[in-house]
């Protein structure tokens, strides 16, 4: 284990441990390449920051503090850090969008502060931003990709060649004449990368470019980026929250309060769990499992991929002579046996802009039952219809029979009567015109994606009280205040401190909490959240999920989350449905669902890493019967060893 002793924090790296490089076999050979070109590379520093300090006008604390960093040509550097650690500021300084207060930023020897030719610097260092929607200027893809070269005055024929090349590099050549609004997030972001590539930069900076994408989109983008680094020798600076992405890099730095606090290969960084936590970065899931196993005295080395983890466990199990199958999983008894708030959906179909040439079928016959008391997960890709589905549950989209204009059609002779969709939520029959939809919405709370973008009032208090006043007209002032206070305290904020502040002055995480408070203020029985953790850093995600569990325990009998993060589903949900192409492809507790790896993969979905590790272990001859939460997985593995010991005695 001694080879695992690694120095970090700006010191020279220790040689990489064998098993770590095994985990990285897909990564570009950044390190060897660098060593091979060492004499030449020394002359070619792509980016040099020397003692850079930068602060935004309003803030007293600098966003970057005396930061020095050198990025070599052809290097793949990952920058991680919690929200507000100065990552984005770093990106903007390199590209010359911001200029340092103190210190010097040079890109290929050009000083960004000299300001003679910002275009020259931007030509060499391109940035891809977070929101793919906000970086496109044209409604046709090739026009958008052409924007950069047009600005540089590149001749027409050459622009055509560059568009060909850039779109091929991101694998989007088939969409050349398409419209970006019809693309998925991942595809849009690849177009944004193509737009930067068309400038032919030497450095490409990705400023949390994958934060808003689903796992498939994230994979697409990362494949493109690592190929560019490998094949085109492009220098990549990747700013991210995701460990899987940082692992692709040759070197990783960790920022905290505008300073580089850790530096090393990604493997080195992620094995230092204690320090990561100190910098408000959560330990990756797999690290948690390793720590727990080690805590139980099982000799597994820290590792970063589920396959390696399975190998480690199997090796340790062999040595210890452990049992080949652990304790059987006993499902926990259901908390609520009531069915007052069951949700029942039958034959639900829905078509957007029907009767127009743009009609698209969002839902094709959904049958789903959600029992009261579940922490229910709805899984599916962007565009699978999951958002449309949940909007039916509180009648934001009304069933055709419930609409004012609805007249029942007489069935044609000889044809069976058309099947009408049915939804009931508790006693509410959503197919009934007379259903009290306002009461329904009070009982079924809905938190949309990025709910903080819906805040509008002058004070946090007024915003949280908005729903309350709508639902309970003429509510007493004292009662109102009590409800608002309880809701704000429920989401973990201090009522006195925050109630008179403007919601727009809060931090990102706080805004989201306020937005959630604005929904739960009426104490809904059922709470639906569309991607509640989207765009947050790992710690923020963890906190939001903890909040949801608290709500599930104390206030809401049923919580439904829409998500595409399988680990999130595995760790939190008691039941999950997979929506694909407007149908329910599968509905089962995670324990059963994630065993069907092939089925999920065929739908283009992933399985959580615990399921991957369990599948690998099964191949190696060890059965782990788990519900796939990190904790339970670790416990089951530990039980293998315990069983093994008792077996041996």
């Amino acid at each position: 284990m001694s080879e695992e002793q690694i120095n970090i924090g700006g010191e020279k790296k220790a040689p990489q441990a064998e098993r770590l490089s095994a985990a990285q076999n897909n990564t570009p050979p950044a390190l060897p390449a660098e060593e091979g070109q060492a004499p030449k590379a020394a002359a070619e520093d792509a980016v040099v920051l020397e003692g850079v300090t930068f602060s935004y006008n309003e803030q007293p604390v600098p966003a970057l503090n005396n930061l020095s960093l050198t990025v070599k040509k052809g290097e793949f550097l990952a920058v991680i850090g919690h929200n507000g650690s100065g990552k984005s500021t770093l990106a903007r300084l390199i590209n010359g969008l911001l200029l340092p207060d103190k210190g010097k930023v040079t890109v290929f020897g050009m000083d960004t502060s000299e300001g003679k030719n910002p275009t020259e610097i931007r030509k060499r260092a391109g940035i891809v931003f977070q929101n793919p929607d906000n970086q496109m200027v044209a409604s046709i893809i090739e026009d958008d990709v052409a924007f950069g070269p047009e600005n540089l005055g590149v001749p027409r024929e050459e622009i055509g060649r560059r568009i060909d090349w850039a779109l091929r590099a991101v694998g989007m050549e088939a969409y050349r004449e398409g419209a970006p609004s019809r693309l998925s997030g991942g595809q849009k972001q690849r177009i944004a990368i193509a737009g930067v590539l068309a400038i032919k930069p030497d450095i490409i900076i990705l400023d949390e470019s994958t934060a808003m994408l689903d796992p498939r989109g994230r994979r697409e983008v990362m494949e493109v980026v690592s190929r560019l680094n490998r094949e085109e020798g492009m220098t990549v600076i990747l700013i991210t929250h995701f460990m899987e992405e940082a692992l692709l890099a040759g070197r990783t730095i960790v920022l905290n309060r505008g300073e580089i606090v850790m530096e090393g290969t990604p493997a080195e960084i992620f094995l230092h769990s204690e320090r990561l936590e100190a910098y408000n970065l959560s330990l990756p899931r797999i690290g948690k499992i390793c720590k727990r196993l080690q805590g139980a005295g099982i000799p597994v080395a820290d590792c970063l991929s589920p396959e390696v983890l399975a190998d480690e466990i199997a090796a340790a199990a062999k040595q210890a002579g452990a049992a080949t199958s652990g304790e059987r999983y006993v499902p926990a008894p259901k908390a609520a046996d009531e069915h007052d708030w069951d949700i029942d959906i039958r034959d639900l179909t829905f078509t957007y802009s029907s009767k127009s040439p743009f009609a698209s079928h969002a839902l094709n016959g959904i049958d789903l039952h959600i029992s009261q008391g579940e922490f229910f997960g709805i899984i599916g890709h962007t565009g699978s219809g999951k958002s449309t589905l949940v909007q039916h549950l509180n009648a934001l989209i009304k069933l055709p029979q419930a609409q004012k204009k609805y007249r029942p059609k007489k069935p044609k002779k000889g044809q069976p009567a058309p099947v009408l969709p049915h939804i009931s939520v508790g006693q509410f029959d959503l197919a009934d015109k007379k259903c009290n939809f306002l009461n329904l919405r009070e009982s079924v709370g809905m938190v949309f994606q990025y709910p903080e973008y819906q805040l509008f009032a002058e004070t946090v208090y007024a915003d949280v009280a908005f729903g309350l006043k709508n639902f309970r007209k003429g509510i007493e002032k004292e009662e109102e205040e009590r409800c608002v206070r309880e809701a704000i305290e429920m989401v973990g904020l201090s009522y006195q401190e925050i109630k008179d502040k403007s919601p727009f002055d809060l931090s990102g995480g706080q805004k989201r909490r306020v937005a959630i408070a604005g929904v739960i203020v009426t104490r809904p029985h059922i709470l639906i959240l569309d991607e509640p953790a989207a765009g947050l850093d790992p710690l923020g995600k963890q906190e939001i999920m903890e909040l949801l569990h608290k709500l599930h325990r104390e206030w809401c009998s049923t919580v439904i989350i829409v998500s595409h993060d399988m680990d999130e589903i595995a760790d939190n949900c008691t039941m999950a449905a997979v929506i694909s192409k407007g149908r329910v492809a599968d509905c089962a507790p995670p324990r059963e669902l994630f065993r069907r790896e092939e089925e999920l993969t065929s739908l283009g979905l992933d399985v959580p890493l615990t399921a991957k590790a369990a599948a690998c272990l099964a191949k190696l001859g060890y059965t782990v019967d788990t519900d796939f939460t990190c904790d339970d997985f670790a416990d089951r593995v530990i039980s293998l060893f315990k069983g093994g010991e008792s077996h041996a005695q």
Partner: protein, 282 residues
């Protein structure tokens, strides 16, 4: 609320008319409007109508969607026809002498003519928007305005503004729908109450939308900067509109139509003098 806003009117099929150069279509539309206003005989008008109907068929767009475009100005049409019918003077009285309302034959003819003109005008414009994407239309307008660069008119900037606006309309519509849904989920009511209540109800939509639009604008500005945008100086343009044989065919057809209209004006006056007497616009 905004469910029925489909962006633009473009009807996506492939046809002769769809593949015409947008500049050709714009210029021909103007020529067509000129033709229907110089036409002073029924024969000329009928010729114009036949050309339009033929164009609609060649364009393979449903005739209903072309007709529907008239719906928007229906009120104006009815109002102007009533006014014209009752207040346009003339010599041949149609109504009995004793009636207070007097309608003359000349007024009827004039009204029919006016209606035809407006119908054809609106429908011809609809054919343009149904067969041309907003993007192509913008390209066409930019190209046609290029000569104005000589008088320092910011053609490029204007085109870029239009292009960005087009690009963001679908995004902002999506966003509006999402905000409406979110506020509805919090019990907001946009559909009942008097006008003041409704205006007040819009605030929770408007403020988030404005804030989001500003945020997007800021990010877009950064992204444009990062992609080396520095105004129209030394800029090249990738897309070039090229005229093809179709444009020539369309231009010839249009020229023939205008010629026909003029010929009717000159010669058809004698063929049917009785009608000509009433319909000439004085």
């Amino acid at each position: 609320m905004l469910n029925d806003v489909t962006f633009g009117q473009y009807y996506p099929v492939k046809s002769f008319v769809h593949s015409l150069d947008p500049r050709t279509k714009l210029v021909l539309l103007i020529a067509y409007i000129v033709a229907i206003f110089i036409a002073q005989t029924f024969y000329g008008m009928i010729l114009c109508a036949i050309v339009l109907i033929a164009t609609v068929f060649i364009a393979r767009v449903p005739f209903g969607s072309v007709l529907r475009s008239v719906k928007g100005i229906l009120f104006i049409l009815i109002l102007t026809s009533i006014l014209n019918l009752f207040f346009h003077g003339g010599e041949h009285l149609l109504t009995p002498e004793s009636w207070a309302i007097k309608i003359y034959r000349e007024a009827v003819v004039f009204t029919v003519f006016l209606l035809l003109r407006l119908f054809l005008l609106v429908m011809a414009s609809a054919v343009l928007t149904l067969t041309t994407t907003p993007v192509r239309l913008t390209d066409g307008i930019e190209s046609l305005l290029t000569p104005l660069k000589w008088i320092k008119f910011p053609v490029h900037e204007l085109a870029l503004i239009m292009s960005i606006a087009l690009r963001f309309i679908p995004t902002l519509i999506d966003e509006t729908n999402r905000i409406i849904a979110a506020q509805k989920a919090r019990g907001a009511d946009f559909e009942s109450g008097n006008i003041f209540k409704r205006i007040k109800a819009i605030v929770p939509i408007l403020i988030p939308l404005l804030i989001s639009a500003f945020r997007r604008a800021e990010e877009l500005g950064d992204a444009m900067d990062a992609r080396c945008y520095s105004g129209s100086k030394n800029r090249t343009k990738y897309k070039k509109l090229v005229f093809g044989w179709r444009d020539l065919v369309a231009a010839i057809v249009c020229a023939a139509m205008i010629a026909g209209v003029v010929l009717f004006n000159v010669y058809a006056a004698d063929i049917w003098p009785q009608i000509y007497e009433y319909i000439i616009i004085k």
